[in-house]
Amino acid sequence: MSLDLIIRIGTKLILPFILLFAFYVQFHGDYGPGGGFQAGVIAAGTVILVAITFGLATAHRIAPHGLVDRLIPLGLLIFAGAGVAGLLLGYNYLEYTGFSRTPAYGHEYGILIVEFGVLVTVSGTIIALFYAFVERNR
């Protein structure tokens, strides 16, 4: 727990905006720069900031070990599942045409789903890495 008032209040003020920016980067990745990788790192950054400012215990309350460890394979499963869904709809693996009646929208949804999978895996991995490093020799 950092005792510096400015850091604690500043963190509290800035956290929602960082998280919002992460989701902006995620879901605006279709139109501007960004996507699952970048958004995942920024989202993981919020948890790291909490851990640095308020201590590991608080960070564990927000993102417990069990959740973080499950996020890593979950994102990969979302990605691979999107591919399997394409197969079941009668198209090639990872071909999103069947996700909507209009093929172009199907591709748009497919990209959104896949990017979400990337976000989940990347943020989970970064948080787990951070935990693994910080909790060593404690």
């Binding site: 501007g32 890593i72 896949v114 060593r136």
Partner: protein
């Protein structure tokens, strides 16, 4: 050009420093400069990644590593001839490889002729996604991205197993007690 000069200066500074803390901070500065270079080259997606991963998370993880080890590098006593030779040969091969590249920024370079025109003209119609990078990444090259995510997954699991392995159960038990 100014950016590239600053990159070179930071690189020399990184090589000459013995304090690892200074090296980590300089590496972070290097990443920010690199992000600016990507921005100048209009590769905004790469710039965003470099700023977030290279300058942000890498710095935090390296600082966390410094917390675990000593912060001053021990002076090498072994011979430096072999590393110098490896570095020189690799650098020479890389420079030799750039000699036959088309001039920087030419529109008719081979890379712009193959599939790029198709991506640029078709991707918005076919995928409804305005950012061509996203369309290529998640749709046209979906397999590659799936592979990338698998690599991240594998790397994450590997590091967690190495750093946390074996003692995880004790720690979980401790955590339960603390709650």
């Amino acid at each position: 050009m100014a950016l590239l000069t600053m990159l070179a200066v930071v690189t020399v500074a990184i090589v000459r420093r013995r304090s690892l803390f200074a090296v980590v901070i300089l590496a972070s500065i290097y990443s920010f400069l690199m992000a600016s270079v990507f921005l100048v080259l209009d590769a905004v997606d790469v710039a965003l990644t470099e700023a977030a991963v290279g300058a942000g998370v890498s710095t935090v993880i390296l600082l966390a590593t410094l917390h675990l080890i000593k912060t001053v590098e021990i002076r090498q006593v072994r011979t430096r001839v072999l590393p110098l030779m490896v570095a020189t040969v690799t650098g020479a091969i890389l420079i030799w490889g750039t000699l036959t590249l088309p001039p920087f920024g030419t529109a008719d370079a081979p890379i712009h002729k193959h599939v790029v025109p198709r991506y640029l003209s078709e991707s918005i119609k076919k995928t409804n996604v305005a950012n061509v990078v996203s369309a290529v990444l998640a749709d046209y090259r979906g397999f590659d991205t799936l592979g990338e995510v698998t690599v991240i997954f594998t790397a994450g699991i590997g590091v967690i197993l190495l750093l946390r392995g074996g003692r995880r159960r004790d720690r979980l038990a401790d955590g339960d007690k603390a709650q």
